[in-house]
């Protein structure tokens, strides 16, 4: 039997997948977070494929305020939305607001951070002054002012939500990238690249970026979380997309129609549960990525 062991394992270096599995056993928060996220995505994509969410997640698709029943497993709301369809579609909508806001935040943050850290000088001073000013403006307040004054309340879409939510989401990324660039800039390998005649852009993309990938991944997840959080705040205050069944709008309508006092518990429970799972999974993923990026955190386990 000894002879049938595959050559790969006898060569001393275990299989790549085994290494990944071993790492995953150590990094529990990353695994749990990813599993929760996968659950939400399977629920939402599966739900969208099995039932027609483009009609059933909107008003007048079902009898009003039905408690959960075999026909409507999660119940219906006062305007006749099937809450199962609302949840399936809402996760996708809320998720895409977050991903869009996170992407804008990441791209802008990386550019600003690199420019400030790599070129330094007066550009750096101007950027630092700008972030200092913007940091004093609480994100929610600036977003409320923009959402309530620039945008027409009745024409809000998920794209405007993502735009408003991304306004300040670049600053965290910019700060991390800047400080990382400052420490990496003076390393020997960067000087080496300079001496060998690489251009600035080439150094940034070929030498600096790969070293910062875990940081960038963590700050992307952070920006997605921030985007979902601030769009949730705006939706609660009635500045969200009134026609779309995002998770935040569902809670807004439930509160608007005093669902709790009317004993329509299912209308509040499902969206709150979904949002709590979304935030919990993203924060666990963020922590897992942080552990990869910043091995010092590991010591405290």
């Amino acid at each position: 039997m000894q002879l049938s062991i595959p050559a790969q394992q006898t060569s001393g270096q275990p299989n790549r997948w085994i290494l990944i599995l071993r790492y995953m056993r150590r990094n529990k928060s990353l695994v749990v977070g990813l599993a929760m996220l996968a659950f939400l995505l399977i629920f939402s994509i599966g739900g969208s494929l099995l039932i027609d969410t483009s009609t059933r997640a909107y008003p007048l698709a079902a009898p009003a305020v039905q408690p959960p029943s075999p026909e409507y497993p999660l119940g219906t709301d006062r305007d006749g939305r099937d809450l199962l369809a609302v949840m399936a579609r809402g996760i996708l909508l809320t998720g895409s607001i977050g991903v869009m806001a996170g992407t804008i935040g990441l791209v802008v943050g990386v550019i600003v951070g690199f420019v400030a850290g790599y070129y330094g000088g007066w550009i750096d001073s101007v950027i630092r002054w700008l972030t200092e000013v913007l940091m004093t403006i609480p994100a929610l307040i600036l977003q409320i002012i923009i959402a309530s004054t620039i945008v027409d309340k009745n024409k809000v879409t998920i794209f405007t939500m993502a735009g408003v939510a991304s306004i300040l989401s670049w600053m965290g990324t910019a700060r991390i990238v800047r400080s990382q660039v400052l420490t990496l800039r003076e390393r020997t390998f960067v000087n080496m690249a300079k001496l060998s005649g690489m251009g600035n852009l080439e150094i940034i993309f070929r030498e600096l970026m790969p070293n910062m990938l875990p940081y960038l991944a963590a700050s992307f997840v952070g920006a997605v979380m921030g985007g979902i959080g601030s769009s949730f705040g705006l939706e609660i205050l009635g500045l969200g997309p009134a026609r779309e069944p995002t998770i935040g709008m569902t809670i807004r309508w439930a509160q608007f129609h005093s669902a709790i006092f009317n004993r329509w518990w299912w209308w509040v429970l499902w969206p709150s549960l979904v949002l709590i799972i979304i935030f919990a999974s993203l924060s666990l993923i963020n922590r897992g990525l942080d552990e990869i990026a910043n091995p010092r955190v590991r010591r405290s386990e």
Partner: protein
């Protein structure tokens, strides 16, 4: 020596305030939306009252609020108003000023959020310090991860859960408001009233506390682990000092510095931290005022609340920068 630093920092604070005020002035004016017309449209929608001379009415009000002047003149009026602490008139309760409305709401908010911020800081820092200490039992160390997950959840959601289970199902505490309006007509200074306010404030305070304890615990534990790796802790252990002494005077004393800075910064966001929770519980603070202003298109109240929050944050940042060298003697600004 240090005085020049304080002066420089104060000038920077003024510069930041001025820039933020300028942003707040120009952002709304980029849009074609006219606040006065929006307000009248809102009245029309909600009451069905549609005056025939609507356009004239809008013009008259624009003149009253100075919105018909050239932009640059409006800007100077606005900045000089701010410098005097004058935030203008409210649109929804017209003859009353924004200062008056904010003045009424602010004490509620400050009362609620100051207490919760302090409690959160104490509880979170204590948990974090114990969780980072090697001799703590395992369950204390394991507390940080669930608390951190809770910290990612908006307090509003925790508030919804608390309202449902504690106030609605179990009927242990009042559902909303800041005091029992059937017992007291207006706020008064008596023990009974204060107890009543306390009962109403428990749930909003609890949602704010649970949602941010994890943040403080994580920060304290991270810093504590770094301190434990320092040579002076090692030295103290080898000298045979008592564990308690090392814990308080070597470990906590050094790890707590960034926490104190964080606390000062957290006081800056006192005005804005509780906005959604206050609205959820119908607590008559800034959050409820802001929500009413958004609903009624009262832009001047929205800008006023914006300015107050920015002032609070900018001011606390300045105080932190000035006080930090006193807390941590290793930091000196004058020589670099």
């Amino acid at each position: 020596m240090r005085l020049s630093y304080v002066i420089r920092r104060f000038l920077f604070f003024l510069l930041v305030m001025w820039s933020a005020a300028t942003v707040l002035f120009f952002v709304p004016r980029l849009s074609p939306i006219n606040p006065i017309r929006e307000r009248f449209a809102e009245i029309q929608r909600s009451t069905g009252y549609a005056p025939r001379d609507m356009e004239q009415l809008v013009k008259a009000f624009e003149a009253k609020f100075g919105l018909n002047k050239p932009l640059i003149e409006q800007y100077f009026d606005y900045i000089s108003g701010l410098a005097r602490g004058d935030l203008g008139y409210s649109l929804m309760r017209y003859p009353r000023t924004v200062n008056e409305l904010i003045g009424q709401a602010l004490p509620w908010t400050i009362g609620l959020v100051t207490v919760t911020t302090l409690l959160t800081f104490l509880i979170g820092t204590a948990i974090g310090a114990l969780a980072g200490w090697p001799r703590s039992p395992g369950w204390v160390k394991g507390m940080v991860t669930p608390l951190m997950v809770l910290a990612a959840v908006p307090p509003y959601l925790l508030g919804l859960v608390l309202i449902y289970f504690i106030a609605f199902r179990a009927k242990l505490l009042p559902l909303s408001g800041a005091y029992t309006t059937t017992r007291f007509n207006a706020p008064e200074l008596s023990l009974e009233f204060l107890l009543d306010v306390g009962r109403h404030a428990i749930l909003p305070a609890l949602s704010l506390i649970v949602a941010s304890v994890g943040f403080w615990a994580l920060g304290m534990r991270g810093m504590g682990v770094t301190v434990l790796g320092e040579d002076y802790v090692n030295f103290a252990e080898h000298k045979g000092l008592k564990q308690g002494r090392i814990f308080y005077w070597y470990y906590v004393r050094n790890a707590i510095l960034p926490q104190v800075t964080g606390l000062a910064l957290a006081f800056g966001s006192i005005v804005s931290a509780g906005i959604l929770v206050e609205y959820l519980y119908g607590f008559p603070g800034i959050g409820s005022l802001l929500n009413a202003a958004i609903g009624a298109n009262d832009f001047f109240v929205i800008y006023g609340i914006g300015m107050i929050t920015i002032f609070a944050v900018g001011f606390s940042m300045m105080v932190v920068d000035i006080l930090y060298p006193l807390l941590d003697p290793r930091i000196r600004y004058d020589r670099r």
